[in-house]
């Protein structure tokens, strides 16, 4: 995400926000990819560790929060430069990854590799 995260806001004329829509979209896509990937990994992890029920969902939200923190750190804690609002960085795509998380969480449960019922 290093070189691909582009400045979407022009800093010279700093009192009028001007956004380069193309860069903004690219940055959003990067966020979405990160979240999807991490939700899949989190799902597999939750399945292997053996979370059940509510614990698993809590784990998912914990991982999403870690993702948000990571993304913010990558954006240098100044979302203004790269995105149009903080909410995008923090909360976009939370629920989109949920279905993937559940699917990949179910996989280890049923593959019976690590433990017997």
């Amino acid at each position: 995400m290093g070189s691909s995260e582009k400045r979407s806001k022009d800093v010279v004329m700093s009192d009028i926000p001007t956004f380069s829509a193309e860069n903004l979209q690219k940055n959003l896509k990067v966020i979405q990819n990160c979240r999807t990937f991490l939700s899949i990994i989190a799902g597999v992890l939750a399945g292997i560790i053996g979370f059940t029920g509510l614990t698993g969902f809590v784990f998912y939200f914990v991982v999403m929060l870690i993702t948000s923190v990571g993304l913010m750190a990558k954006a240098g804690f100044s979302a203004d430069v790269y995105f149009d609002s903080w909410n995008r960085v923090l909360f976009d795509g939370f629920l989109g990854g949920l279905m993937s998380f559940v699917l990949f969480w179910t996989y280890p449960f049923n593959l019976n590799i690590w433990w017997s019922n």
Partner: protein, 246 residues
């Protein structure tokens, strides 16, 4: 938990994994097929021209504050002038594009092809699942749901005392259907992330209705208040240059 069912490894080998693998492969196949079958429509000159006009109008809207007031007004007049403005569409021609689209065989074929390529694999897979894999417990989902979901998740299983966590293969199919969306968006590249469910939502609003979008752009342009954003840019340029030179 009422009882702990031990699921046969044969179920795992012959149901769960093949179903997932098949769904992934069908998704990939559908992506490539749709790529191959996408016939490039011969562009109609009039429609292309109108599209470009719309793009220009949008650029004007976006950059309105960076040009002086008079220039902006001149440009806006060029677009929305009543007699020969580019965006002004006489009322009579309003409904043509819609009718044109349906009678144009190319576009109708395109839409049908797209719809078919989406619906057929889904239907076939669902029928296959129902035929081969019904009537037994297929998987265990790691979280408990309430009893109301029992009829939805366990529709092949006729025992009512089995825990709702044990689901039939039909629900495994649906779980895969929704969960593999994320996977597809990662492996197929970003522009093909959408699949069945989202495309079905988009099916409702197709149609490039040129006259309506022209009218919308015209209204949008008319609404804009010009706010001159660079009032003192000479001073600001001077200060920036000074900073650089220092």
């Amino acid at each position: 938990m009422a009882e702990d069912l031990v699921l046969d490894t044969a179920i795992r080998d012959w149901v769960l994994i093949p179903l997932s693998v098949v769904m992934v492969l069908i998704g990939i196949l559908r992506y490539f097929v749709s790529k191959l079958m996408r016939s490039s429509p011969s562009p109609d000159a009039k429609i292309v021209k109108e599209g470009q006009v719309i793009i220009r109008a949008r650029n004007l809207k976006a950059g309105a504050n960076f040009i002086p007031l008079r220039s902006f007004r001149t440009r806006r007049l060029y677009f929305s002038n009543e007699e020969n403005g580019l965006l002004h569409v006489p009322k009579g021609q309003g409904t043509n594009p819609q009718a044109q689209m349906f009678s144009d065989p190319n576009m109708a074929m395109d839409m049908m092809k797209k719809n078919l390529s989406m619906i057929i694999p889904q239907t076939l897979t669902f029928a296959w699942v129902n035929f081969f894999f019904s009537g037994f417990v297929a998987a265990k989902i790691p979280f408990p749901l309430t009893q109301r979901f029992r009829s939805m998740l366990q529709n092949g299983i006729d025992l009512s005392t089995v825990d709702v966590s044990y689901v039939s293969s039909r629900s495994w199919y649906f779980l895969n259907l929704f969960g593999l969306r994320g996977l597809f968006s990662l492996i197929l590249g970003d522009e093909n992330a959408i699949d069945d469910t989202q495309r079905m939502m988009q099916m409702g609003g197709f149609g490039f209705d040129a006259s309506k979008s022209l009218g919308a752009e015209k209204d949008g342009l008319d609404i804009i208040q010009h706010d001159w954003a660079l009032p003192r840019f000479e001073q600001r340029a001077e200060s920036v240059l000074r900073k650089l030179v220092k």
